[in-house]
């Protein structure tokens, strides 16, 4: 697997450095420990929003730092959650006194590291609230798993909570909004290929020419099961039906439909998936009020996609529409 890198060990440092150079108007990049902060943070009186996780999911999270979304992002090594010594200064850097929300994807590593960081930040006098994202319906949330994973829905949580923070909501209110999104968003993904972690050098898994992995996460891990290759329409049903069932979407409800690329699938194919997904929703009488199509929560160069559905209400729609200005998501300004 060839990659446009210099050294597997410096991938994250160099990539984040380049990111900081390209978006110097929006972010400041801190090194050693590494974290990315919105220009001008902390914003007086505003609740700070921090998210982070392993690298390899770009543009998540650093691409979403800016007005109306995150105040800081904390990247770990590729597919490895960041450490408290990164999370703590990032948290401190964005605290205006109004407190800080940690948006944490539900993985053991992320949970433990953010938990530790939150404790220590609290000890330093910062009010920290954590919101756990666990939108992946491929994983049963039971005693026998680490619970549902946080996947594509994370970007929706970050956008909407970011809008709530930007309009001046309190710490509890922003956390409430974020939790409302988490309750109403579900996701499921498929892989047509594995991906190669730079330091590992070989693909995370190998699929035959007629096999796909259903129910994958975003770390190149194998999915829940492997099936024979199908048409885009067939795959779309397989992903969307469990999402709609878990959410209990009924006729007349309004939703946001999000088709997310895993990094190596052309945009044109994502629209073929979107087409079928929108039709399934229409057949059920649901109204697709907002949509998002593109590579937002990726797994390096993996081929595949995930479909997320968020149940909307007027409040969530308004927060989604609110201006946002980050490297990877921008509108209204």
């Amino acid at each position: 697997m060839k990659k446009l890198i210099n050294d597997p060990r410096s991938v994250v440092d160099e990539s984040v450095e380049g990111f900081g150079m390209a978006h110097a108007d929006l972010v400041d990049v801190h090194t050693d420990p590494i974290y990315i902060v919105r220009k001008g943070a902390p914003v007086a009186g505003k609740v700070g929003l921090v998210s982070g996780g392993g690298s390899g999911h770009e543009p998540l999270h650093a691409g979403f730092v800016g007005h109306g979304m995150l105040d800081a992002a904390v990247p770990g090594a590729v597919f490895t959650s960041p450490t408290p010594d990164q999370i703590i200064p990032a948290t401190a850097a964005v605290d205006s006194g109004a407190g800080v929300i940690h948006i944490v994807k539900n993985y053991t590593g992320d949970v433990l590291n953010f938990e530790t960081a939150a404790e220590m930040a609290q000890a330093e006098g910062i009010s920290v609230r954590s919101v756990l994202v666990n939108d992946d319906v491929a994983v049963e949330d039971s005693l026998y798993t680490a619970g549902r994973r946080g996947v594509g829905g994370t970007v929706l949580v970050e956008k909407i909570a970011g809008a709530a923070a930007e309009r001046g909501d309190s710490l509890e209110a922003v956390a409430g909004v974020a939790e409302g999104v988490v309750r109403n968003v579900r996701t499921m993904g498929v892989a047509l290929s594995g991906c190669t972690v730079p330091h590992a050098g070989v693909p995370s898994f190998e699929l035959a020419e007629d096999e796909i992995e259903i129910g994958i996460g975003i770390h190149g891990e194998p999915g829940r099961h492997r099936i024979a290759m199908e048409s885009a329409d067939g795959i779309t049903s397989r992903l969307l039906e469990p999402v709609l069932e878990d959410l209990g979407i009924k006729a007349g409800e309004e939703v946001l439909l999000f088709v997310n690329g895993m990094g190596g699938t052309p945009l044109s194919e994502l629209y073929i998936v979107y087409r079928r997904a929108a039709r399934i929703l229409a057949e059920r009488g649901a109204k697709v009020e907002r949509s998002l199509v593109g590579n937002y929560v990726t797994s390096l160069e993996m081929q595949g996609c995930s479909i997320s559905v968020l149940r909307l209400d007027d409040e969530l729609t308004a927060l989604w529409d609110a201006p946002v200005h980050t490297p990877a998501l921008r509108w209204g300004m």
């Binding site: 392993g54 090594a77 995370s204």
Partner: protein, 216 residues
Amino acid sequence: MDLGVDWAVQWLTLSARLMSEHREELIALDRAIGDSDHGENMDRGFRAVIEKLGQTPPETPGAALKLAAMALMSKVGGAAGPLYGTAYLRAATSLGELAEIDAAALAGALTAARDGIVARGKAELGDKTMVDAWSPAVEAADEVLADGGDAVAVLAAAAEAAEVGAVTTDPLIARKGRASYLGERSAGHRDPGAVSSALLLRAAATAAGFPEGSAE
């Protein structure tokens, strides 16, 4: 024979060497049921431990383990970072300011480490995690202690039991950590964290002079 700070430093040094030597193996194990990073994480973490050891040489075994805990916590990341960080920190706390550790202190430190992992990670025996290496290790250590064995014998027994424990994870279905997402597909693979735990305990025994002569 009691164990002093030299042993602790030697333990960490050997640990770093083993993590580097087994880096690829741990990555491959993690690729099968996880996300291909465990070997890289551990190798990076223990390099940081060695660097810190060089900067501020510790004066007691407890200080050495505390230094290791901090380096692991801040450089390993993932699930293993906080788990090992907690383990080494609890072990360090249990040893306190002791300059020399006897069998009882050592067994107590191992128990504290294991309890720290369980407290943080909430895994039970059989969940296919590093606990499946640590729990048998602690039990074996306690038995040797009860039988009057010395510190070296305690470590030897712990290392032995951890290795066996790691092997027992093969058929298990994971219930904690990233491997749990695989459900039944996780069976038939060895847990990477259990293997790294066994390696670390093996390093402790070797540093204490078991089985290949005494540690310098």
